[in-house]
Amino acid sequence: MNHLPVLLIINPLLAAFSLSLSIPPARKNYKIIIGVSAVIQFALSMAALLTSLQQPVHYHVGGWPVPLGITLILDVSSGFMAAFTSILFTAAVLYSFAYIGRGKARYYYVLLMILWAGLTGMVLTGDLFNMIVFIEIASVTAYSLVAFDETSFSLEASIKYMMLGTVGTILIILATGIIYSSVGSLNIADLYNRIQGIPEKPLKISIALFVAGFGVKTALVPMHTWLADAHSSAPAPISAILSGAFVKVGVFALFKLMYNMYGWSVLTSLGTDQLLINIGAATALIGGIMAANQADLKRMLAYSTISQVGLIVMVLSLGTLQGLTAGFFHMFNHGIAKGALFLSVGSMAKRAKTNRITGLSGIGHDMPLSYFGFTVGALAIVGIPLLNGFMSKWLICSNLIQNGHTLHGIVLIIVSIIGAFYYFRVLERLASPAGPDKKHRETSYGMFVPVVTLAGLCIITGLLPYIPLVVIERASLDFFSYNSIITGIIGGF
């Protein structure tokens, strides 16, 4: 039996718990432990992606057979998400070494590693309740990481996030209870086979609760208010992870339930796909409009995340294989670009000691490498050709229009124009010649290497989009035919 799926979850947890031990070697050498663990985790997730490309792995935790025990499923889609999460986390860990001051740093890494384990578990699990447990592991660490600075802003943002997030979790648990009480199973693949026969009422209620619950976690529009506060008040590497990975993993989990637990035909017959595509369009528009009038740079980036997630939700709710490819590609592109943006803004804000756009004017001259990372990330998210965002936005737009959603395609173009407006405004401001009296130094290696690496990934993906697309096409194929693959592995229930 291949133990790779469970190692992916155990490894960060092991690092976190060995770090929280109060023995002197762990206290003193926490950077070594975290560094080694991050490198191992990165290698493991890449190995997981390569393994899944050859053959999907179906892991029974504790050796229990399928409908009874918890299963972890490593197919190309979950392997891709785990690898993508690991890229961002590795960059964030490297960045944190230079960014986080000494004081409480050990606890910061404990939380960070648990968050990594939670997000990896969310994409790997094949069990509904296990998914909730991982969502909560990730959410609780995210709440406390948002509050990590303990300033008035971060505490306020954290309590907002926590109140809404906990209500979201309660809705998800209630939906799971309804599903279990009407079907009698918790395994996602098993549920898919048995959910067709159940009456319409519990089906409708549970879908509504899942959309509302995951909508809170992923900031879909009526439930989006916490995201801008939380992502702008968190430490920079945490903002990068929450915006780049957490929200995407939440969307992935929601659509895993929609595609692979309910089945897309059930959703179409209930009209949920129309609901989701309109929620996505509203999220994209409102996020874009709100981003345009922000004075705080990190807040602007956070609203931009809301609007890009709206685009992803829009294209994923088409229910087609090509739509999935476009959606996953945009998840990847937006994740690395937003990671570069948040990390570079973190560097600039650390030097200038402010997040306000006016306070940062002219800093591009002093910090050329951070400014380079910011520029590449901004242009990628706007969708300038030759950068990765262009390819995925093109795919999303063409998919929307081919499937008869011309209006939603126009929404994407409007959102991109608004995005160009607010990103170019900031780019111009940061490069303005009005040089301030005090000169800022460029940040240390630990801080600009992750930024430049992520920006470089944006450029490489933009110039050679076929390399990630080969993997992403396989990932969406596995996601689309999840149930037949699992039935093939375990030979039916």
């Binding site: 309740f129 609780v140 209870g177």
Partner: protein, 111 residues
């Protein structure tokens, strides 16, 4: 509709009312706990069988209580306890900085 379901909905809406309407952060935290209680009640009441025996199988039982909702409830209680502890911890920090628990006054984040 089963009477327990009506009861669950009542408690749930009571908790939601608390979270949405009350201004005091502690009361909001209590409301979230009330909502959680409703969900636990829903899970447990589903698994309950009239006159059923505990799910310890010796081979002769015919009418046993469903053990899965109980396991889910235990896990959910643990999650709820952890969240509540963290929430109260952050509320204490907020009180130290802002000097109030009123959500109308804790409004420095705008936009």
């Amino acid at each position: 509709m089963k009477p327990t379901l009506i009861f669950v909905l009542l408690i749930m809406s009571l908790g939601l009312y608390c979270v949405l309407v009350k201004d005091n952060l502690i009361k909001k935290a209590l409301g979230i706990n009330i909502m959680e209680g409703a969900v636990f009640l829903f899970l447990i009441s589903y698994g309950y069988r009239q006159g059923g025996s505990p799910p310890i199988l010796t081979g002769s039982e015919t009418n046993i209580v469903d053990p899965v909702p109980q396991a889910l409830t235990l896990t959910a209680i643990v999650i709820g306890a952890a969240t509540t502890a963290l929430m109260l911890g952050i509320i204490i920090k907020i009180y130290k900085i802002y000097g109030t628990l009123d959500t109308n006054e804790i409004r420095r984040l705008r936009g």
